[in-house]
Symmetry: C2
Amino acid sequence: MAASGRTARPEVIWARPERAARGPRPAHTRAEIAAAAVRVADAEGADGVSMRRVAAEIGCGTMSLYNYVPRKEDLYELMVDAVSAEYDLSAEPSGDWRADTLALAAQTRALMHRHPWLPRLMSPAHGFSPNALRYLEHFLRVLEPLDAGGGTKMELISMVNGVVSTYVVNELSEAERARTSPFPPGQEHAARMAHLARELSRGEHPRLAAVIGAGFAAVDLDAQFARALGRLLDGFDPARVSPPPGPSAPRSPA
Amino acid sequence: MAASGRTARPEVIWARPERAARGPRPAHTRAEIAAAAVRVADAEGADGVSMRRVAAEIGCGTMSLYNYVPRKEDLYELMVDAVSAEYDLSAEPSGDWRADTLALAAQTRALMHRHPWLPRLMSPAHGFSPNALRYLEHFLRVLEPLDAGGGTKMELISMVNGVVSTYVVNELSEAERARTSPFPPGQEHAARMAHLARELSRGEHPRLAAVIGAGFAAVDLDAQFARALGRLLDGFDPARVSPPPGPSAPRSPA
DNA sequence: CCCCACTACGTACGGCGTACGTAACTAGGA
DNA sequence: TCCTAGTTACGTACGCCGTACGTAGTGGGG
């Protein structure tokens, strides 16, 4: 049985050597394939990324792609890692972990705006790709001034990314839906809003009607984003939160 | 052109009458279809839910399903609404919005544990299904003691749900991956961990190695969940956050 | 030098969403 | 009451998808 035999093994793609010891030189590189897939996803959305489509994009037969990427899932992993390379981690930590964290979150948000398929294709299992490691290490460096255990810091990173992802998905939801919809843009959203208004006018859900009637339309998204994250970080900031009075759990023991 | 003609229109499924004015009595109900789809998803995962599979489940031809559900997307919407009915919203708000919010979040977490496909199939566009309205209204009622504007309250709801979703996806990630994986359970995760250990032993990423080496394995998940959400709520709690001090980044100006 | 691992690629299978044609049925208006 | 138009039910078909597998050619290590 060959080491990197034909039938897939439970192997991380990053552990596969890019170039085999024997045989002809591969006609393409992982980076090239990842870039092609990212190009397709940017242009046509996550559903546009198919093995056939990406193979065509780099100009090879469909099944040749499987020499580089044993399963489609691994293609996703390549894509996520590729765009993670867009993080600019060159700035030295300022010492203000709050500000640095907000800056990192802003980069994530911008990244997801550039690549709206990212939240959908990202998975916790991709957490250890090369560029994810770079990112995590940098984040931990940024958090060094924060007085907290390693577990808490990982928790912070995870929650910040979760909130950013949630936030961006909400931000982009209408636009993405419009792109996928077979109807003229806006029409689907209009139908949805009309239904909501009709439903709220029935008098049940008075609080919701009040909140929505007050119109949360013309909000400054950037400010709202910063405020939401600020609130989250407040919860981790020993300088801003009064010590846990009652039932809150103690710090994680060593 | 028929009102609910054959070709789909940009219509919310909840605005479609379940029973048409004319024609034969439909052999199935929306609730029955939603329950069947939920059953399939619970048993076989989100990818198991296909129009063919669900049609077979209720015992009708594939294309007959399209009389009830114009697009697959709408089937998802039915499913999400159906499981949202599992929320127990009968308890009167206690007056302690923090405790009530944590209880709601715990219900969401339990719901997602019962239906692991929920995070993947839920979309911001489903936010106004009948049971979603019930849920939102109840949440706003719970938040009445909180001194904040309607926009802030919606923000809180959105962020709580985002964090819960992120948290559960992380919790269930390994199990879900194992269910999908074509390999013996655990083998894929083992390969991933082996690669991580190999990579961290190379000496770059020292902080990450330290944190992971310290082992964040045997943690109490329930406590961690409560702590994470508690931190988030801290940020919304006027009673717990000290007014913006000096050194840390100032609040975003109005 | 030669062997064989590796590359490239076409064919084929089973599954998907869904457009469309057709037949049976049923309620409202004449 | 009967007619007719709209609805239900359902099979067929199209163009996608992921990918197992067979085959031919290539080039580096023993």
